[in-house]
Symmetry: D3
Subunit: 249 residues, 6 copies
């Protein structure tokens, strides 16, 4: 048995949209997996879209995520809990704590348990962006395909069993026809049904909320902090009009 960690770990979970029911569901998922002594709080986004389906929604959300991290600086690590990771680079300039996005975390995790994975998303309009995210993660050749449910973010989760059935159906097709060995569920709203999908399809599945929280913990516990130099250095002291400037905590 190892020693207990030197002190408690406190994670800030940022739901980039304003749907508080989704926030609560993700907090529960995270609280259920953090090591003993770990805690998670919601870091509130003040305003913006109630769900994020478009790049316009994401642009607004990214600015709010940056503001939220800036205004609530006391956590050991942050988790941006929307699969598109809005505001990730901006947030890393605003805190020395590690900042993890659930999209990047899901891709890093799936690549360690399978050789080829499929990505399941909500609407077809998001396919191009997810293909670019897979490319940015360096995993293009390991992605068997990106498939869309045709069902929006707002109808994801345990309360929508039909959506879950459709995810399972698409997952089976990805394995049988495209040769996928694992699934990435590309929506924070799918966090409550991940295990169910994995069991039904018979391959590993992740949506990044659970593994993203544990990744944030891992970075923190290994002593890694966001670099204060180079691209993630604290913002320059630029004057802002109509809103307060950013300064790094």
């Amino acid at each position: 048995m190892t020693d207990a960690p030197p002190r408690a770990f406190r994670l800030g979970l940022i739901n980039p949209n304003t749907d508080t029911a989704h926030t609560a569901a993700m907090l529960e998922v995270v609280a259920g997996v953090l090591p003993a002594g770990g805690a998670v709080d919601a870091v509130a986004v003040a305003r913006g879209p109630r769900s994020i389906e478009s790049r316009a929604d994401a642009a607004v959300a990214a600015a709010e995520v940056a503001r939220a991290v800036h205004d609530d600086p006391g956590h050991d690590a942050y988790l941006i809990a929307c699969f598109g990771d809005p505001g990730l680079d901006a947030a890393r300039e605003l805190t020395g704590a590690p900042v993890v996005g659930i999209g990047a975390a899901a891709f890093a995790a799936v690549a360690m348990v399978a050789r080829r994975f499929a990505v399941i998303t909500t609407l077809a309009r998001g396919i191009a962006e997810l293909e670019e995210a897979v490319e940015a993660a360096g995993l293009r050749r390991r992605c068997a395909g990106v498939l869309a449910l045709g069902i929006p973010v707002a109808a994801q989760g345990a309360a929508y069993p039909d959506t879950t059935e459709r995810i399972i159906e698409l997952g089976r097709r990805a394995c049988e026809e495209l040769g996928a060995d694992a699934l990435v569920l590309a929506c924070g709203g799918m966090s409550g049904v991940t295990e169910r999908v994995a069991q039904a399809v018979g391959v590993p599945a992740t949506n990044g909320v659970a593994v993203g929280a544990l990744t944030a913990h891992a970075l923190w516990r290994a002593g890694l902090r966001t670099s204060a130099g180079g691209a993630y250095a604290p913002p320059e002291p630029i004057p802002y009009d109509g809103m307060p400037s950013f300064t790094r905590s």
Copy 2:
């Protein structure tokens, strides 16, 4: 001689920062190159950083750019006049008119007049992001290097001759030591000194403001409009909290 175009072209120039002197300087550059019958107006960003040096600044600016395009829909094309192209994909969802970013336009143009180019930016913190932009533009193998002046956006332009001398010095070094054949000046604030740098260094130089405006005109005149399907489809009708939702013009 060709026929006159069927009607006047009206370009919306969006300066993503709130520095109105920069806006005025860029409007002058654009007005000086548009074909007869073309006109350019500033599309105002309501608030945010007075210059954009960090990803946090850019995240705020991107949201404001999206809002500006949404709220001022009557132009034939839009030009986002900051080299990082903040809000470009979001803006394309919000209008059927072509939307051009000066960064993407500068890379497309330089690739047609030279085989290897160097990029000159303001601060070293921006190097990583520009390297990613070169990669995204598919031009990694044609980029001889990204060099930083160590001088912020706010000290760029014709009013800062020492900055211009430093750009020329870096440009010469890029050609002699790195084998560059052309220069990309990666800051909208450099638009007034581009010609001077090109002449002093003896290679083509662009910063994207002039060629970006002409590219927007070219897309429009060729009958190209932003696709209304797929990734650039108008935003879904998502409810927003604390601000109005987006709907595509």
Copy 3:
């Protein structure tokens, strides 16, 4: 309203094949889109294939394009009006004026109005070369597919309505089955039917002749000239046997 450009713009259009009817059709397309004061002339290729379907045809045509630019040096910019851009790099060594290829121009343009595009070509033998051109343009991940009509260059254009119907049919399939948001018509001979295809399929379409001419104008008007250093420097003074050497205008 902006000032008129300092003087008229004169574009040299090079049809790399010897089909003068195609040349005339493309001249008309270009003349219809150039800004007021702009003019276009044909720069004649003396001999070679009447259409370009193979790499052997293209090799002959490339040499003729280089010769044509060399022998007719007085234009402000040149447009190589065959989708494979034969002789493009060679031509750039032979003139200080910008040289644009319709293939490269079409790819650069479509990437600014859509996130994923499909390419429609004449014969299946050209698919591999077009895939390489997409890769060279840095747009591999944004290309939904390259589809062949199975109809040669010589049967393209407004005089072949059945060909146009087939283009429309392939275009619809590319959008519905492959997720394309826009079309690139990869043959100069399709320049007269581009608008018709775009309207029928309901997405942006380009074949590069119109937007290529406007791009050449844009480079020129922005003051960009082909770099005289590095890879595009004027040819070395090499003796030739059986034909005159090249010297840069």
Copy 4:
């Protein structure tokens, strides 16, 4: 505060070389960071090189790693504690538990806390392989360089202060001259000095042993298991000559 995990986590640490002092040092590092309730055991490699400097050494070690996982199947996760990750894919066929390599874990972690990192290795002969590993991790454009100490594996660790000074010196050069924001120490033997290097250079540093163990825990706790389908399916029942066949636990 969260619930305790349902039961203890038991990690198998595989040192692919036969240097038991290195094994002991890495066990101590891992034991020091695992969450409460977690434990780590050495999974012994029977024979082979006492350190791994060449591909020939690595080939032998990879076969021994596969054998060790096969013969000691009872762990919740495995960590292959040599930076080249020898035998990683083979081991994943031989167990349903997650298998993490410290090289892949270090690259995944550093990419979440910095935008550009440098890699410090032991001998120059390893540079090419590490460059390929960076490429395989999809991080080529974020790697500022791979630098060699010119000091072998056997002279790494807290007992060799001169080596540590040399790592610090190289790390500073990587930041100042190459623009690195973080360091990857590419040798399991450097696990005891990582923190010292990070503090001296002033940027995040990782060598993968600590963060790799925590990553293995994270995968396990998030319910992810190595896929039993596709490329990581249990080995086919092939007869072996001169040694026992593999069968998946």
Copy 5:
């Protein structure tokens, strides 16, 4: 007519598996194509899998290949005769003679006679690894697809006519549906049926055994030897436990 080579060429063929019937079949193929004066011997692998279907099999085989080259150093060149090229880099450290893998040789050869090829393998589990090999060979964009027979290594060769029929059927499908112009038969055991498949499908086919042996001869005859510097330098003098160390011949 040219002079005879200065002395006879002697190739060492290493079958990484222990199936001596396969070894004999491949020796016959090689002996049939080597230039006059050339000879081929089997370099025996002492133990390990009787065929190689998994990465665990390949890990064991790679170590045995390295050992075999080390222990039988007198050849002018070596051919590793399993499509996955197990132990290739390790073997290159252990001899100054050129070492060729049949996989790498097959890819290099097919790229010189066709623009797009398909790869036919034994089991679906190998698809991911072959896709990575195509990528490593720099030929991703020229590979039309990797198709699996669903028939193991042990049932390949002239003694299994049904397997050959299935290869032909898959090959035809690859040409008709995927646009392949040539086939790569990705298994050393297919060496005896390559010509039959090529004739039946009507496109070039290779499995690397014949062309790999001739490539090894070509490297040797052109005076090329494995580099003794950098990544392929002889192994460091590392002590081994339980087996002899490697030293380069």
Copy 6:
């Protein structure tokens, strides 16, 4: 000892420039390495540049290479003996025999004997094109650099000892400063000094003439012919003006 090949091998060597002294020197190199029974003839290019330094020279030469292969169809294989491989794809449409370029052959060969190589060329203007050729060969990450002598093609070869000294000096620098393990001499005119350079620098060196001829032999002897389908199918029957059309032999 193996059987003699069924009949003599007859290689057509195409020097794309009109310098007959270079042709003679390369014929001698090739004749010295071909297996017993092999013969080489020059396939004459009628006209064009006496050496190839620019893309304009290469465009003319490519058309002449295609014509030469078309007009002299009786060889078992062809070797295009200029490092830029002018007309390679065109020539492959015009013959069923394998066609090898010395550039592609040199890259394929060096990748089998070293992990990182440097390329030495004549003039700096060729660097960008060689970097693209390395990328097209899929070897970007294995190329330590492309270095220019600043000495034209016409002053290469055994008659220019000062040039040879300069090659050796650059080669040493490439190994010491850039970490190269091998050299590619990127000019057919260097074929007579390759061995001397290799010995002086102490690493493998190739310029492709010798290994290219042996590669052409290897493809032929292994039964590989240029694919008659897809991209290398015989040219379409296109009418030509001012010169005869191509038809495949």
